[in-house]
Amino acid sequence: MTVRISGAQASDGHAWPLLSPKAGMLFVLLLALLLLFLLDIVLGSVQIPLESVIGILLGRGAEHPAWEKIITAIRLPKATTAVIAGAALSVSGLQMQTLFRNPLAGPSVLGISAGASLGVAVVMLASGGAANAFAIRQLGFGGSWLIVIAATLGAMAVLLIVLGIAVRIRDNVVLLIVGIMVGNITISLISIWQYFSEPEQIQDYLIWTFGSLGGVLGPQLAVLGAVVALGLLVSFSASKSLNVLLLGENYARSLGMSTFFVRVSVIAATSLLAGSVTGFCGPIGFIGIAVPHLTRSMLDTSDHRFLMPSCCLVGGILMLACDIVAQMPGTQTTLPINAVTALIGSPVVIWVIMKQRNLKSSFS
């Protein structure tokens, strides 16, 4: 065939569009993330002046040793966890929505959160009267390692079941339904367990389900960061294929894409991302569904090579904002993060949908 290399000049007044969206948008998002990160560290039940916070962050120390302790041991890890959790949940939600071509798909849909909850429930509720959750925290792991491991194993177990079915069934809609059903089975197992448990044990479990960004410290934070980094790497490498999946599986296959490979990679990445975050922070809802929609609207693109990093940024921003609200600046009270994400996020999503009305047209 003959191809005229014409460059970008427009012969009839229509300049060729550029595939990459405005880089300025990404810069603004990054700036917002940094700003909120700082704000999240500054605000809290103990009032610490901004100069001292910056001083501590820059390693210059502070006039009160307690302040330094609060910043480095509590607030900094918490803000970092918020960014990691927001990025992980958002990216896994984005992939799920593209893979299943469904605007309501998210990490919780495939039963990942439910699987993690089951793992936690098994540890907390089956441990009997002597070994309640308080006792587990005293096990010498320096924290709630056992719960984290149980949650991750639970998430993985559910995902292995779903993955096993995914190998046999080529239809993503069927897979989505299977995921929801497996999640339902898991939830009903938990409620049976709760029914036969002591109230104190149920309370421990309920507190876990409220979600918490705090308490992920030192080695835990390193593990969470490493697992999420691995998950993001797998996700980012699937960007090109996810773009093609927008056309549907038949087109994707006709373009030479291995749908099996992409499906396995997306499920594996999602299990790493959502499983680890759920294990460490509890089942945080809403972020995984809402952030991809917000990001698509803001960037007005469907290119996953830009959506992925943008989702990380927007997810981090939203999670930080939710955390700031959750600690109710100026008071001694802290709200459960899970309630805040839904409380803040849902109206935002409704507003975006009303304003742009392209959510529906994004999916058939």
Binding site: P17, L246, S254
Partner: protein, 365 residues
Amino acid sequence: MNNSILQTRDLAIGYPAGKRLGMSGNRRSGNRAKIVAEGMSLELREGELVCLLGPNGSGKSTLMRTLAGVQKPLGGEVLLSGTRLDRLSARDGARLLSLVLTDKVLTGNLSVYALVALGRYPYTGWAGNLSPRDEAVVRHAIETTGTRMFAHRHLGDLSDGERQKEMIARAIAQDTPVIMLDEPTAHLDLPNRLEIVRLLKMLAREQKKAIVLSTHELDMALQTADRIWLMRPVDAPHGERKSSIVSGIPESLVLDGQLEQAFRRKGFEFDLHSGSFRFRHDAERTIGLVGDGVRAYWTRRALERIGCRVVPGTAVPQHVVVAGENGTGHWQFFDGSTRNPHKLQALSDVLTAVGVSASSGEVVR
């Protein structure tokens, strides 16, 4: 000159035993393989536009999917550019054959340009970045389909016809010698249908692409196809339904009566003169028609539609004479008495009112 790009040898298509397929909602299960058609030897040449015709359920989609390598053949082989389809890597296959499907693509945020750029998937690297050559191919594809003014728009904002053109542009950008289209003109209005077919014809002529499209539009296929692959159901033993396929130029398929056999149903007849199917009106009466030209043609059509058998001349008791020139002309209706309607509508009303008069003597109920 043998410039054949795709061949099948003794190809059998269908669904293997006990296997479920999740493609386009087609789910067949059973213990025995379901053979849709077998023994097919087809050839597709460069620069050729082939229309795949056949009634619903005759296996057009199954054949398309098998040729495109989406579905495995039950027997025989498909050779694409001389290589067996199952020995081609997915990527190499995607560089030889592109598909335009009926699947709805309604991703609102996807711009036209980004959509067409997806056609470069088999050529781009790990990150999917377009090289200057890739961009040039994408732009060329958009210009070929004459949709440059849409390049900025979102796919969700396009009409059905515009969207179909972009899907074809995407296939052009894939830069394959073979393009297969599954009912590309379904759901489109007439101007859009003609434009799509003209575009495909042009691609075959000017860019030497081999194009296969399945369609239900007989008229269009007869007018434009270089060759027709006609699938038609034949009765096999044990009450099974199988299809056979014939390949030929449109005109000879008409003259052989193959086309008529394939689509024959009660209540229709194939008109050898126009090459189209018509309602067969079980004639209640016979009417003579005198006149020629366009007005006589449409008068005949009107008479046939309201259930008359039309014979030339005035030999039968009821007859119509088309008189005068275009614009000033009128009709004369003889039925013992004479009436002169000035509009075809009026003639039609007269005929309906008169009904089957006893005087015609041709009443067959």
